[in-house]
């Protein structure tokens, strides 16, 4: 009892001493909402990291780790890359796919120095589309902050919009079993080239209105989108 009182006193003094600095650890409660009615998101990766680290950047080529995530939803590469850089990660908070209209809430505590927040998740169906937050500077003021997120294209795979593989470098879109029935089949393909190989804002899917055949295995009434596609809300204690 006496000990904990002393600790409290010490903590109070410590809190006062730290109050004037902006580098103390922060406890964040984060909610990501899938704003669409027809897209699924693969396991999310959220990371608080130093200002000179990142997951992706528009206008730059994707890393191999980003490509794994954007083409197949595999966040392990990005997660270990950031862990090796002493980042604070949250992986797969929804324990699987984040369905249309659904939200997932999780906590993340950043070490001092990990001043920037990034988040990625792959869009299904897509060849290499992902939702991204790129190096958002974590405010030092307590409060609730809302950020609308756009869809990016990793620039690593042609948007053929056909059933295929989630492995890096392999053509086509991954088809997780729960989504199998919502995809079309036997399309001829929208395009087999990807001339912009830099990360860029996704131009959206074309799709078609044929469950069997046509150009695309994407349904044009269900799987298109307009930005923003996700909302990230951060509450800083």
């Amino acid at each position: 009892m006496t000990t904990s009182k002393k600790i409290n006193t010490l903590l109070s003094a410590g809190a006062l001493a730290l109050a004037s600095t902006s580098t103390m650890a922060q406890d964040m409660s984060i909610t990501v909402t899938n704003l669409t009615q027809g897209l699924h998101f693969t396991p999310l990766l959220t990371s608080a990291h130093t200002s000179d680290n990142k997951m992706f950047m528009s206008g730059e080529a994707a890393t191999a780790e980003l490509q794994m995530m954007a083409e197949g939803g595999d966040i392990s590469g990005l997660a270990s890359m950031l862990t090796n850089a002493d980042a604070n990660n949250n992986e797969n908070p929804a324990a699987g796919l984040l369905a249309p209209g659904m939200s997932t809430t999780y906590t993340l505590t950043n070490d001092s120095g990990n001043t920037h927040l990034s988040m990625v998740t792959m869009i299904l169906p897509s060849n290499d589309g992902f939702v991204g937050l790129d190096r958002w500077e974590i405010p030092t003021e307590a409060g609730t902050y809302t950020i609308n997120l756009n869809a990016y294209d990793a620039g690593t795979e042609a948007n053929n919009e056909l059933r295929g593989s989630g492995a890096p470098g392999m053509p086509g879109m991954p088809v997780p079993p729960p989504l199998d029935a919502s995809y079309g089949m036997n399309g001829t393909g929208i395009t087999d080239t990807e001339s912009n190989t830099m990360v860029h804002i996704h131009r959206g899917s074309i799709g078609d209105d044929m469950a069997d055949g046509g150009k695309s295995d994407v349904d044009n009434s269900i799987h298109r989108w307009l930005n923003p596609v996700a909302k990230l809300t951060v509450t800083i204690q």
């Binding site: 009615q37 950020i147 609308n148 799709g207 078609d208 799987h223 298109r224 923003p228």
Partner: protein, 246 residues
């Protein structure tokens, strides 16, 4: 020291308020941020008996007339939430452009409809007044009528700190009520392109509200669509301004 930090905080609060106003206009950028509402200052000792707000909506689309605005003042609540089921009143508005049930909501402390349709490239304005000091939140909704069930608007916005002549603006995205499949079929679109059925109680879509994926149209691969390239839209679709005038 204490005085200094108090001043600093005040500056931060003002900066945050400015940021809130500015960032609301650029909502689609992923760097836009909306700080939490700052702590409310003590209410002014002399509050007027009547509060009046002018709500102006500019139609930013190419060929999507907007149904008459439904505007409501209420206590803290939201009239739709992303991921949740639409009320029947919102369904009636989103499928048919009829806001009568929507503005008759039992939580409404004041409600009004604007007079007519707001055509593309034009703006519509309506004033709403109340003497109820609990009417500190506002909601507005309007249908994009050449669609199955697209609507735009804002809900549950805190206006308690607006002083006389204060003005706030937003560029707003388009929602889908999730209550009617986006078939774009002849006979299902109430707007002038089709003159089809508006509200239908059958729910044949995902049955939750979220953002709209845009119309496809007969010119872009939906062969049975009654819509053409002219009816396509993007976010944002409307600009909304609220000004306290009394």
């Amino acid at each position: 020291m204490f005085t200094f930090s108090l001043k600093k905080n005040t500056t931060i609060i003002i900066a945050a308020t400015l940021l809130l106003t500015l960032s609301a206009c650029g909502d689609s950028d992923d760097t836009a941020e909306t700080p939490a509402p700052v702590p409310a200052p003590a209410p002014a000792p002399e509050t007027p008996a009547e509060y009046t707000y002018a709500v102006t909506v500019t139609n930013l689309t190419y060929a999507q007339p907007l149904s008459p605005l439904g505007v409501i003042l209420h206590a803290e609540s939201k009239m739709w939430v992303t991921g949740e089921v639409s009320s029947v009143a919102l369904e009636v508005l989103a499928e048919g452009g009829d806001n009568s049930d929507f503005i008759a909501d039992s939580n409404a402390l004041a409600a009004i409809s604007s007079d007519g349709v707001i055509l593309p490239g034009s703006a519509g304005m309506v004033e709403i007044s109340t003497t109820d000091r609990n009417a500190t939140y506002f909601t507005v909704a309007t249908m994009l009528v050449n669609t199955n069930d697209a609507f735009s608007g804002l809900t549950g916005i805190d206006i308690s700190e607006m002083t006389l002549d204060d003005s706030k603006s937003w560029n707003l995205n388009v929602y889908d009520s999730g209550t009617e499949a986006n078939s774009e079929l002849m006979g299902t679109i109430p707007g002038p392109v089709d003159g089809g059925t508006g509200f239908d109680a059958i729910r044949d879509d995902v049955d939750f509200v979220a953002y709209h994926s845009g119309v496809v149209s007969q010119d872009d691969g939906l062969s049975n669509s009654v819509l053409t390239q002219a009816h396509r839209f993007d976010n944002p679709a409307i600009k909304l301004t609220i000004t306290r005038t009394k």
